[in-house]
């Protein structure tokens, strides 16, 4: 009986592992293939049958990325655009989410959602003209402003969900303790919502960092962000896969590191102990 049970358990575990492997395999394979590409010379990249692990690693691909392009400028552009768009989104979106959650203003939330669902191109063209008229086109401002279309709804929606789950009694207790509505928000609701803010921050950051469409329309030669810069490495004469993969990996890296780093923050619930059973 026990032996059969154990056998059953082992089988279950193997099955689970297999399912998990199948589910993550596309992502993992892409990634492995990209790493492989970035470490191979051009001849090996076109070889058939394909080579996964090359004999000599082509580290020069990475050197080339930094040498041939104005990579640091694009990196800095990306940091500025994503950083500003994310921070602004937090400043606007966290209080907005709180207000919508407390006032149960679902309609406002839906309006924000619609802004997010509208295809980017439908408002890109008029905004392009607007930015041109305002003489902003050579600067990073158009991209920062338009990235808010991506980041603000994410922050607002995550924060609505988070504030709705935090117990109302805490805020009532604070108001009885003598806090004004603003103090209730700043001293009680906000600190408790920290895990939610971290999640909103990371997701907004990832979406903004990876955004391509806005950059390709609005960026000039000196205001390109990284995804656009990688795209511009494709030239008409040839596609050099090695440096391209290397560049793509470098673009992905900050987001990847951030996600790994912040995982703990996301999981750690701060509300534990606030109410019974916490």
């Amino acid at each position: 009986m026990t032996r059969r049970l154990m056998k059953r358990k082992t089988l279950d575990r193997i099955g689970l592992l297999f399912v998990a492997l199948v589910m993550v395999s596309p992502v993992v394979l892409f990634f492995i293939w990209m790493i492989s590409l970035s470490l191979k010379y051009e001849i090996e990249n076109g070889a058939y049958p394909p080579i996964l692990i090359p004999e000599n690693f082509a580290w020069t691909n990475y050197v080339q990325v930094f040498k041939e392009n104005n990579f640091f400028l694009y990196f800095w552009n990306s940091v500025l655009v994503t950083g500003a768009a994310t921070l602004l989104a937090l400043i606007i979106g966290v209080p907005a989410g709180y207000g919508i959650a407390r006032l149960k203003a679902e309609r406002a939330a839906i309006v924000i959602m619609i802004a997010r669902m509208t295809p980017g191109l439908s408002f890109l063209i008029p905004l392009f003209l607007l930015f041109q008229w305002m003489n902003l086109l050579g600067t990073l401002w158009p991209q920062i402003i338009i990235h808010l279309v991506v980041t603000v709804p994410i922050v607002v929606w995550i924060m609505i969900g988070y504030f709705e789950t935090t117990p109302m009694e805490l805020e009532e207790a604070a108001s009885i303790d003598g806090a004004t509505p603003w103090q209730v928000f700043r001293l009680v609701a906000l600190p408790i919502a920290k895990p939610g803010i971290v999640v909103a921050f990371i997701l907004a950051l990832i979406f903004s960092w990876n955004n391509f469409v806005f950059g390709i329309v609005l960026a000039s030669r000196t205001t390109r962000t990284l995804p656009v810069a990688v795209y511009n490495m494709l030239s008409f004469e040839q596609v050099s896969w090695g440096p391209l993969a290397a560049a793509a990996l470098i673009v992905t890296l900050p987001v990847l590191v951030l996600t790994l780093f912040a995982q703990k923050q996301i999981v750690a619930g701060l509300t534990a102990g606030a109410v019974k059973g916490g």
Binding site: P167, E169, L170, E172, A173, A174, S175, I176, D177, G178, A179, T180, Q183, L187, V188, P191, I192, K194, L270, T271, A272, G273, A274, V275, K276, G278
Partner: protein
């Protein structure tokens, strides 16, 4: 400290009327318990005093101030919530000192007051802990500490013990009462547990469907319940109710059981009216009065024996304090103390 006056309070949620027209006077330093079944409006009433719920009509006064339209933060009250509502991101010390910090009180003074409250409640060693690191009873004490530190005019308690286990509940009940006796702040306490109400209150307000059924000292309510609702609600196990009429100097239930009349009753006064006969289980003894019953349920706890007896077609609950040997199916003779019998008018439910 201050008296609290509720005057013609009304509360509607849309078209639903939760509290109709309710007035209570609470004296300075009094411990008042609002008790009633769920949905009777007791929590809503407390939240209106706290300023967490708007008043649809009427006035609330704390001391000489009319506070009905003041926000919670300006009412100078403290409240202990059912789930404690401790700020999870603050230590015990910060939780207790939060109100004073908001008032921009001198930090040294705040620390002093927090320390004193912690001493009263035995929390000195827990001041650096976070709420999640505390047990249920400790969280409860911190919530009380947060209230004490404020030195408010009124304490409000919203079912503060219902999340604790039975044993701890009894301990904390004693502690809350002791705290009140020590500090003497006017207290309004909401519970659905009539034993909490009986043991803690100076004055009990029994609520039912948004109306006051009776206001009085605990023993008054027990000895002289105003109506069937209060009679059934106060006391555990509940009072026996038997419907019938007064005939030929005795009470005859609709199902034919004959019971003795109350000591002071004159039979002529009630003759022919449909009545309800009320007797508490603990006022029934083993004896030979002509009433015999067959034991349908027998539960002994050691200190007492609870039994349900089938007397003819009526069922009567009894609580015997003496050790008697009865088992399921045994026939027991009982006697009813006529001094403890209540008669109620069946139509109005009022005690006669």
């Amino acid at each position: 400290m201050a008296p609290v006056t509720l005057h013609n309070i009304q509360k509607h949620f849309g078209a639903v009327s939760v509290i109709q027209d309710l007035s209570v006077d609470i004296a300075d330093g009094e411990f008042v318990v609002l008790v009633g079944p769920s949905g009777c409006g007791k929590s809503t009433l407390l939240r209106m005093v706290a300023g967490l719920e708007e008043v649809s009509g009427g006035q609330i006064r704390i001391g000489a101030r009319e506070v009905s339209d003041l926000p919670a933060r300006d009412r100078d009250i403290a409240m202990v919530f059912q789930n404690y509502a401790l700020y999870p991101h603050m230590t015990v010390e910060e939780n207790m000192g939060f109100a004073l910090k908001l008032k921009k009180a001198n930090p040294a003074d705040t620390a002093q007051r927090v320390k004193k409250a912690a001493e009263i409640l035995g929390l000195e060693k827990l001041l650096d802990r976070y709420p999640r690191q505390l047990s249920g009873g400790q969280r409860q004490r911190v919530a009380m500490g947060r209230a004490i530190v404020r030195n408010p005019q009124v304490f409000l308690f919203d079912e503060p013990l219902s999340n604790l286990d039975a044993k701890l509940r009894v301990v904390m009940r004693g502690e809350i009462k002791a705290m009140h006796q020590r500090i003497g702040t006017t207290t309004i306490y909401v519970t659905h547990d009539q034993i909490e109400a009986m043991t803690m209150a100076d004055k009990i307000v029994v609520l039912h469907d948004g109306n006051i059924e009776q206001v009085g000292a605990p023993l008054d309510l027990y000895d002289r319940p105003a109506n069937l609702f209060v009679a059934g609600f106060i006391g555990s196990p509940s009072m026996n109710f038997l419907e019938g009429k007064v005939e030929e100097g005795v009470f005859r239930t609709d199902k034919g059981l004959i019971l003795p009349l109350p000591a002071n009753a004159t039979p002529e006064e009630f003759a022919g009216r449909p009545l309800v006969y009320g007797i508490r289980p603990e006022h029934i003894r083993v004896g030979d009065q002509g009433i015999q019953g067959r034991a349908a349920i027998v539960e002994g706890t050691g200190s007492e024996i609870f039994a349900k007896l089938d007397c003819g077609s009526e069922q009567i609950s009894c609580l015997f304090r003496e050790r008697i040997d009865i088992r399921f199916g045994d026939t027991v003779g009982i006697s009813i103390d006529p001094k403890q019998v209540h008669l109620f008018d069946k139509a109005s439910g009022r005690r006669l």
